[in-house]
Structures are given as structure tokens and as C-alpha cells.
């Protein structure tokens, strides 16, 4: 049910986009550097590898659909490609995205054919001709050569797009005259929604059943839609049945039906199969850039942005490479379904904010790949993205200083490649008394307005909030109580150096560690903690806060400081945890 507001008397208008040699174009689109030359598509699933699709250049060389691959090879200079159903699926999805970028009402008529409802779009994009040219330009950017037609009814638009090359606009009331010039082959395949090859009379795919009907029409001397429309309906129905009547109505341009809208999906995929395996990062990044450019243009056309990118690289299978990839963190061995196992290198890029800039996404992917490069040459690149609504934010004079999420992600990726993934992020305290009881989380700052009701943070406030969240961690020691001019922040020694401690009456009196020796002049402790005794990684320690005066004199006199020293009950040893500064 359309929710669009149509003015009374406004003419309905539909545009049909047809991609000739769709199967071939889908493969050529994803294979860089092929150029324009004679090419055929063979069905790899069939033992003889017959030609199922070919372009105009190949047709002029005398190649016909159905001949085998070995026969094609005898011609010489003909590019032979294998059919790829994933590429066809991606090309079809790209075509749908192009249509949705113009109109919300799109019909998924056939893999090589879609129809758009153009009603009410004139105020946005101008006349139907302008919209069709816009569609043609969009299709060209997607790497697809298309035939587009606009008409007042769907069937006429579909038939015209399949029959006539380039752009066709059928004025209202002239459907029969224009469609009459179309070959009857186009009528039959338009009715069946099947793929027509370049060679008239030859069929492919689901259109195979129509061959008999086509032969009959040839015997009758019917070659165009006009001659078919001139046949008497009654006699036609006696010979061809109800299908004949339907075709007759189509040939007269009088068949009217409603558009069946397709539901847009939020998942985008692009992939590229490489003739030669790529081992270097630079050519790989160029190819990734091309794929991202294509995917981002599809996403942006739908006014969306990528919420995350999944990169999958199919690696060249070899014994040695397989042995290397076995230990790689991102590698996994899968069976692609064609019998031979291949290594897949996976990389998931989660974005803090939706992005649609291909250059930013490329930098992020390349930085991740540089920190953990694929262990073998790449033969296939697969990209997938889940699209979400783009981030909308308005600049605020009073908002706090916060970097752009895109910049943050890029900076964090660069820093991660410098210091390692594990050494960057925001620390998050864990609900444990274990030493170093924190983990590194993704840095995701939130820009808040200065005058917003952000709770004032303090030591006590933070603790209360943590307890409200269910964290039962008590303060590690009373020394964390803060006052205005008395501060005590700990500087941690990683790893904690071992110490020799002299105990007298249960209290430490002398300590020596890392070439430092001193006398304890004040001590606080022991602050005992233990836990995780039910696991192998249990802990039990006594903590002391010791004020130590060094035995040796320095330039500034005797060195003095407060240290946190722990006795590890499990290891039966003393360690200096850190110093207060």
C-alpha cells in the first residue's frame, strides 16, 4: 500500500532497469583490469563447461552460447570467465541500492531487471528523463552497462528496457506504437522474466522452456511485437492458450499490474576475485580501496553509514601457507563448498560511530592489516558491512572538547599499530581485589554538554556509583582517601621487583630492592586480601605502606619515600608494588 501523496490526475510512471548479459557483467565488474574485449562466461559446474553468456565482441567473433570451453579456446584472444553466483548476488544488490537511492518503491523483478515507481519524484529530481539519466550514471559508477526505459505501465517499461538499448522514454498513449518495434524474443523473455543472450533465438537459464514457443512464432512469420499484436486474440488463445492471450496484451502495451515493492536490506557485500594472488600490502590496499569506494557509494546512496566492516580474505592454498596460517590469530580454514579447503583470513572492524567515508575506512583496515598481515597471498577479497543510520550531531558552543569518532578510531588504530592492541584503550576496573584487576576497553569518549546534568565525580561518588552498579570492590587501602592538599597517587612498578625485608616484632624494619636499601620509619599494615582460591590462579597477599629512608645519601640528602610493599603468601616472597607520588 503506497503511502505517497499523489495529486489527483497525476500520471503514474515507472522506470525499468535492465542489465544485458547480467551474469557476464557481474563477473567483469569485480575483476579489475579486464577492459573491453571479447569475453565469454562458462558454467564451471557443468563437466563440458559450456558458454552460457557472451558479450557483443565475442558474438561478432562467431561464438555462440552452448559451445564448450575447449572450442572457445580455439578462437584465441577470447577472455574466458567462470560464472560466479555470489558476484551476481552482489551486482543485483548494488542495482537495488541504486534504485532505492532514487525511489522508496522498487520492484525486484528479476536478477537482471528492476522496476522503480517514479510517481511524485519530479519535485526532487526533475522530469522522468532526468531521473533516468541519473540512474544510468549511477549504474555506470557501479560498473554496469544498462538499458533503461520509462513508461506509464510496468510491463511496457520492462519490455522496452529489454528490447531497446540505451534510454527509452515512452509517452503516455504511445506504448503500442513503440513496443510494436520490439522483437518478439524480448516479449517472450520479458513475460518469463528470464535472461536473454546476445544471440537472438538462443536462450539461457530459466528461459529454456520458451524455445518451443519462439520456434512456433518464427514458423508463423511473427518477428516483432506489432505483428504479434496484429494476430486475432480468439485464434491465438485456441492455439497458445491463456499464455498467448497474456502475451498479446503485453504486445499491445495494455497489460497493467501493480508494483510489488521489495524490502531494503541493511547488509551490504562486495567481493573481488583476483586472477593473480596479491602478496604485497600496497596493491592489496588499492584493491580494498576500490571495493570500499563501491560499497560506501551504495551505502551512502541509501542515506546510511557503515556500523562495522567485516573483511574476509581468501588465501592461496598451499601446504606451507596452510602450515603458517594454522597459528595465526585471524586465520581459519573453511570449506568453501567446492570440495577444496581454503584458508580464510578474517578481520572485523567495529566502528564507534557509523562512517561512510571510504578513505577513513581504508586507513583503518590497512592499519589493522599492517599490525596483523595475512600470512599468505590473497586470491579473493570479500567485504561485508552492516549499515545503520548515520550519526547526526549538531555543533554546540558549550559542549566539552571531544575528538571526532572517526579521528579517534583512526588515531587509536595508528597507536595500536605502534604499541600493540593490548596496550591501548580505556582502563576498566574489575570487581576483584586481585592485583592489576582491570582490563583495557575500547576508548569511546562521549561528548557531553558542559551545562548538562553530569554528576560531579569524586572519590566517594565514584565508589558509590560502582557499588550501585554491583561492584563490591572495597577501597584497596585507606590511603586512597583524598583531601585538598594531601594527595597519594601510586606509581606502579611493572613487573614488581622482589625485595628483601627484615621483620622485627611482626613489622618490617629494613628493606632492600633493586639496588636500593633503606630503613622503615613508618609502616601501615598488613592489609590482607585473598581470592580465587577455587581456581589455579588464586592470590593471597599482605599489603604494607612503608615510609622508607634510604641508607645512602644523595645530592639532595637522604632519599625518602612511601612505598607499597606486598608479601605474596603463595610465592612466599616480598615484592615492591609501587611508590606513592
Amino acid at each position: 500500500m503506497s503511502t505517497e501523496l499523489l495529486l489527483p490526475g497525476a500520471a503514474m510512471s515507472f522506470a525499468s532497469i535492465f542489465v544485458p548479459d547480467f551474469m557476464l557483467q557481474a563477473v567483469v565488474r569485480s575483476a579489475p583490469g579486464i577492459g573491453i574485449r571479447a569475453m565469454v562466461l562458462v558454467d564451471a559446474a557443468s563437466p563440458l563447461r559450456p558458454v552460457i553468456c557472451l558479450n557483443q565482441q565475442a558474438a561478432t567473433r562467431g561464438i555462440k552460447p552452448g559451445i564448450t570451453k575447449s572450442e572457445v579456446e580455439q578462437f584465441g584472444g577470447i577472455g574466458i570467465l567462470q560464472r560466479s553466483r555470489p558476484q551476481e548476488r552482489i551486482a543485483h544488490a548494488a542495482l537495488l541500492d541504486l534504485a532505492w537511492s532514487i525511489s522508496p518503491r522498487v520492484e525486484d523483478t528479476a536478477p537482471d531487471n528492476i522496476v522503480l515507481d517514479l510517481a511524485g519524484l519530479a519535485s526532487l529530481f526533475g522530469s522522468d528523463e532526468k531521473i533516468i539519466h541519473r540512474l544510468a550514471e549511477g549504474a555506470e559508477r557501479l560498473g554496469l552497462e544498462t538499458q533503461i526505459a520509462a513508461a506509464c505501465n510496468i510491463e511496457a517499461a520492462i519490455l522496452a528496457s529489454r528490447a531497446f538499448p540505451g534510454i527509452t522514454v515512452i509517452p503516455e498513449g504511445e506504448e503500442a506504437a513503440i513496443i510494436g518495434k520490439a522483437p518478439v524474443t524480448a516479449l517472450l523473455f520479458s513475460a518469463a522474466g528470464a535472461t536473454v543472450s546476445r544471440q537472438n533465438g538462443e536462450t539461457a537459464g530459466a528461459a529454456h522452456d520458451l524455445t518451443g514457443l519462439l520456434e512456433t512464432l518464427k514458423r508463423w512469420g511473427v518477428h516483432t511485437c506489432a505483428s504479434f499484436a496484429a494476430l486475432p486474440v480468439l485464434e491465438l488463445s485456441e492455439r497458445l492458450g491463456q499464455e498467448g492471450v497474456r502475451l498479446h496484451k503485453l504486445a499491445r502495451g495494455g497489460a497493467v499490474r501493480a508494483l510489488i515493492p521489495a524490502q531494503p536490506a541493511g547488509h551490504f557485500e562486495e567481493e573481488m576475485e583476483l586472477e593473480d594472488a596479491v602478496a604485497e600490502m600496497e596493491p592489496l590496499s588499492i584493491l580494498l580501496g576500490q571495493l570500499l569506494e563501491r560499497m560506501c557509494s551504495r551505502i551512502a546512496a541509501r542515506s546510511l553509514a557503515a556500523g562495522g566492516i567485516d573483511l574476509r580474505l581468501q588465501l592461496r592454498p598451499s601446504f606451507e601457507d596452510g602450515r603458517i596460517t594454522a597459528g595465526h590469530p585471524f586465520a581459519q580454514t573453511t570449506d568453501p563448498g567446492e570440495g577444496e579447503a581454503s584458508d580464510i583470513f578474517q578481520l572485523a572492524l567495529r566502528l564507534p560511530a557509523p562512517m561512510s567515508d571510504p578513505s577513513t575506512l581504508l586507513k583503518l583496515l590497512v592499519l589493522r592489516l599492517q599490525s596483523a598481515p595475512p600470512p599468505a597471498p590473497v586470491v579473493k577479497i570479500m567485504l561485508a558491512a552492516d549499515a545503520v543510520r548515520p550519526r547526526t550531531s549538531q555543533g554546540d558552543l558549550f559542549s566539552a572538547i571531544c575528538p571526532d569518532p572517526e579521528k579517534v578510531e583512526l588515531t587509536v588504530a595508528r597507536l595500536a599499530s605502534l604499541v600493540g592492541d593490548a596496550n591501548i584503550g580505556s582502563p576498566e576496573l574489575l570487581d576483584t581485589h586481585r592485583p592489576e584487576g582491570f582490563r583495557m576497553c575500547r576508548f569511546d569518549p562521549i561528548s557531553v554538554s558542559r551545562d548538562s546534568c553530569r554528576p560531579a565525580r569524586s572519590s566517594l561518588g565514584g565508589r558509590i556509583q560502582r557499588e550501585q552498579k554491583g561492584h563490591a570492590r572495597a577501597p584497596r587501602s585507606p590511603s586512597h582517601g583524598l583531601e585538598k592538599d594531601v594527595q597519594s597517587a601510586l606509581r606502579v612498578f611493572r613487573p614488581a621487583p622482589a625485595a628483601r625485608v627484615e621483620i622485627r616484632n611482626g613489622y618490617p624494619v629494613q628493606i632492600a630492592f633493586s639496588g636500593f636499601r633503606g630503613r622503615v620509619i613508618a609502616a601501615s599494615g598488613p592489609w590482607r586480601s585473598s581470592g580465587d582460591w577455587w581456581t589455579e590462579d588464586s592470590y593471597a597477599k599482605d599489603e604494607w605502606d612503608l615510609e622508607i629512608q634510604s641508607s645512602s645519601k644523595t645530592k639532595s640528602g637522604k632519599q625518602q619515600g612511601v612505598y607499597r610493599v606486598c608479601y605474596d603468601c603463595a610465592k612466599k616472597g616480598w615484592y615492591v608494588w609501587g611508590t606513592f607520588d
Binding site: 582517601g481 611508590t579 607520588d581
Partner: protein, 228 residues
């Protein structure tokens, strides 16, 4: 002749007054925004930390450098600003930071393995922009190690932060940025404050363990400040 020269200069200055300010007249340098550190004594001495400039906090271990830096981080993150902490010696304690009031989710902690890595990370963070405070902790490196770095590094950092709202805080044992730093604060070791525990309002004496470490008193002095 000198009289004519003065006349000529005044005539040119009056002609160009609407377009170019007179170079011979003294102009008071524009004072940038300053934000508090959270320590009253230091704030009253320094007037706060300048934005778009380098501030050095120097002092020996135990002088309260880290406490002052965490205090400044706590205030900035509480304001909702994103902050970065470049940890050259991997000495940052998240518990102390959280206890001081640092909003950890607003803090980017970069744990470096060497001083060279720390400087590279700082350069990346400063040039990315958008951070309210960037702290570089070189507190555990001996002065001779930091001195060996070329001076142009500090000029590069100064160029990266000037005309931005970023506070660049460097924690070290001795000042190294020389004229690139707008503010240099020297911290001095204060006496440790111990709280003697009492039981039934009577102080327990003779038992050295029954006491709590409260902290050390912060003592600071200004070595250099452009604004004062």
C-alpha cells in the same frame, strides 16, 4: 633628520592604522584560557594550566607529580573532555586515578615500551586533536635519557598544541622543553601524613602498624610562567 623620521613614521602609521597595527607600539600579549589543576596551592601560584601550551611538572619521585597530574585529569574528565595519558614507563595505576576522580571511560591510556615509542604516540595524539588534556609521563626516566632527545621534538609538540584548546602536560624529573614550555612547575617532596588510629578515643601508642597513610603534602613552586 630624526625629527622628520618620527613624523614620517607617525604619518605612515596613521594612514595604515585601520589595516595594520603599528609595530612600534607595545601590545599586551593575549592571555590564553587557563584551567585549574584541582590543587588550591598550585592553582594560586600558577593561575592554572594554560590551554594550547606545554606545561611541565617536574620533581623527584614522591614529590606529588603524579597526584597533581591525576587531579588535573580528574577535573578535565569530569567536565566531559576526552583526555589521553601517554605512559612511557607503564606506571599508571587505574585505582589511584579512579580514586582521585578520573572518569576512566574518558581517558585514553597508551602503555609504551620505550621513550621513543612514547614520543611517537604523543605526536600522533597531539596531531589528531580534540583532546582536552594530553599527559606524557616521563617521570621514571633519568634526566640524561630525556635530555638526549633533540630539542625540535618539543618545538613540534608546541606547534601541534598552540591555537588548540589542548593542555599538554609533561611529567618528568627535570624540565627539558626549555622555551617551548609556557609553564614549569617544580614539585618538592613534602612530609608524609600518617593518621594514627584511635580506639575508644585513646591513641594507641607504641604499635607502629595501627596507622593509616593519608598521603603527602604537595609543595610546588613556579620555575617559569609566560603569563606571570
Amino acid at each position: 633628520m630624526p625629527r622628520d623620521f618620527k613624523l614620517l613614521r607617525s604619518q605612515i602609521a596613521s594612514l595604515l592604522a585601520s589595516r595594520i597595527p603599528d609595530p612600534s607600539t607595545w601590545r599586551t600579549p593575549k592571555r590564553g584560557e587557563r584551567v585549574p589543576t584541582g590543587n588550591f596551592e598550585t592553582d594560586s601560584l600558577t593561575g592554572g594550566l594554560p590551554r594550547g601550551a606545554i606545561t611541565e611538572i617536574c620533581g623527584p619521585s614522591g614529590s606529588g607529580r603524579t597526584s597533581l597530574m591525576l587531579s588535573a585529569l580528574a577535573l578535565r574528565t569530569a567536565e566531559g573532555e576526552a583526555c589521553a595519558f601517554i605512559d612511557a614507563h607503564n606506571a599508571f595505576d587505574p585505582y589511584s586515578a579512579e580514586a582521585t576522580g578520573v572518569e576512566l571511560s574518558q581517558l585514553l591510556w597508551v602503555r609504551c615500551a620505550s621513550i621513543d615509542q612514547a614520543f611517537r604516540a604523543t605526536d600522533l595524539v597531539l596531531h589528531a586533536g580534540g583532546f582536552g588534556l594530553v599527559a606524557l609521563d616521563l617521570g621514571d626516566f633519568p634526566p640524561e635519557t630525556v635530555c638526549s632527545l633533540p630539542l625540535y621534538v618539543w618545538f613540534r609538540f608546541r606547534r601541534a598544541v598552540e591555537h588548540t584548546p589542548t593542555i599538554f602536560l609533561v611529567l618528568e624529573q627535570e624540565p627539558h622543553a626549555k622555551s617551548c614550555a609556557s609553564l614549569v612547575v617544580q614539585m618538592e617532596t613534602g612530609s608524609a601524613q600518617w593518621l594514627e588510629a584511635t580506639q575508644n578515643h585513646e591513641e594507641i601508642s607504641g604499635d607502629p602498624g595501627v596507622r593509616l597513610f593519608r598521603g603527602s603534602r604537595l609543595m610546588s613552586k613556579v620555575l617559569r610562567s609566560r603569563a606571570r
